[in-house]
Symmetry: C2
Subunit: 256 residues, 2 copies
């Protein structure tokens, strides 16, 4: 029975998409069957996996609005075992168009629940906001993975994010849990990183992954080739970190 | 007659707030009278200037919703000549609450226009989205400053941003122009930066500032002390770059 995770943080540029792509691709490489759902109108998870979002005919937009089944938009990626439900630019209109629907919070959940037994894991990449698209991700998921850049503004936003997760558990999804916090763009040489890490590990003792993702230029280069880090540069520090993350993710899941 | 600029880019984490704070503080240091308006519910421009957004009684939320005059929320910052209209967490509800207003796009414009002759420059910091808050910023402004991180996803999002700006000029603000593109987190040693810079300078020949903002840890440390970079570490590369940016901004404005 596949488990659904949403990768969320309203702070922008904190490694949500980079983690969504590399964690899901890494799990596929570990022989899991994985679906990555891109509900960010920017469509970075889509292009980061080498799919041209302007040529995608039907996308998550159609699944949420028309609706059409998720199966009809899912595509195989260049990574065996990894499937993608792509975004395209029309998704930026979805937020406003969905407001009128009675069940506007649960459109994604209704589309994903029937697919649970086809995948081991389903990941949802979200935009940097707490609007209706992200709410759909929170409603559909079993667990939230928060990527946290080791910098001041990202730390400051954590309180607001935790409040939103608590609200989500009360109003739209009582099963939702905070599955983990992943430190990204970690630079062990700076005081800033050390301060943020100390505060976050105190705040969420069990939840913060031991694995940290270092700042590594190869991770920023890989999306321009449409490839996960393992394919783009297997020997890089970024690749090693995400391989370790995949292992820790599987270990944590086996205890659940 | 004060000119109003909105700092926008729907891509997250590209240096919008860092530029909003340091450009406005730098102009104040150059004896201009400046107002910085924070319409991002994250309130990073507010905390980055040392103001505790949880103790702020009335904020931009009240200006947009009640409405109350901007003068009643404006506060003096620790930088002489720089005023702030702060955000607080209630702003995250504004987006949904404003949808019902007839004039929902122009609430900010109505609040700012009466203040034009009290300031030389007014800057608006926006959230990483193209929702109603950012639309209010586009409707209120004379010019848009786009901060662009020198990385692939940020470059990819430029097309969508330009389309949005064209739409904004047609539907909500015919005077709006693209005033400039500022390259941020620039790392001259990487191919990625060189590629992005080349593409962007070809795309917008005149608009891209000569001044680039280097990646500099001091810029990421300064907000945790609530200070602009000049006050936090005047000798840093980040400070030098923003001083140069202020000079180029004034030079470009004098030709307009
Ligand atoms: N560990 C890392 N080291 C270096 N660069 C990174 C790392 N992780 C992500 N990046 C780069 O930093 C930028 C921001 O990352 P990413 O786009 O994954 O964040 P995001 O949270 O998904 O952003 P948004 O809020 O816009 O959706 C991208 O250009 C990405 O390539
Ligand atoms: N030139 C720079 N060098 C190093 N760090 C920087 C630089 N500019 C910004 N930062 C840091 O990078 C992070 C993102 O910058 P910032 O918050 O200003 O971007 P933003 O576009 O306003 O983000 P959001 O989309 O969430 O509003 C912050 O932690 C900031 O301190
Ligand atoms: Mg993203
Ligand atoms: Mg910001």
């Amino acid at each position: 029975m596949g488990k659904i995770f949403v990768i969320a943080n309203q702070k922008g540029g904190v490694g949500k998409t980079t983690t969504a792509i590399n964690l899901s691709a890494g799990l596929a490489a570990a022989k899991k069957k994985v679906l990555l759902v891109d509900i960010d109108p920017q469509g970075n998870a889509t292009s980061g996996l080498g799919v041209d979002k302007n040529t995608v005919e039907s996308s998550i937009y159609d699944v949420l609005l028309n609706p059409i089944p998720m199966e009809s938009v899912m595509i195989e990626t260049s990574v065996p075992g990894l499937y993608l439900a792509p975004a395209n630019p029309s998704l930026s209109g979805a937020q406003v168009e969905m407001v009128e629907f009675e069940d506007r919070d649960n459109r994604l959940k209704m589309a994903l629940d029937p697919l649970r037994d086809q995948f081991d894991y389903i990941f949802i990449d979200t935009p940097p906001s707490l609007g209706l698209l992200t709410v759909n991700g929170l409603a559909a998921a079993d667990g939230v993975l928060v990527t946290l850049q080791c910098e001041y503004y990202a730390l400051e936003g954590l309180g607001q994010l935790v409040e939103t997760l608590n609200l989500a558990t009360q109003s739209i999804n009582s099963q939702l849990e905070l599955s983990g916090v992943i430190l990204t763009m970690y630079d062990g040489r700076t005081n800033l990183t050390a301060q943020v890490e100390e505060e976050v590990r105190n705040f969420f003792p069990e939840k913060v992954y031991q694995t940290v993702i270092p700042r590594n230029i190869k991770l920023a280069e890989a999306p321009s080739f449409g490839k996960p880090i393992f394919v783009y540069d297997f020997k890089s520090a970024g690749s090693a970190a995400y391989i370790q993350l995949v292992q820790e993710f599987l270990q944590r899941e086996s205890h659940n």
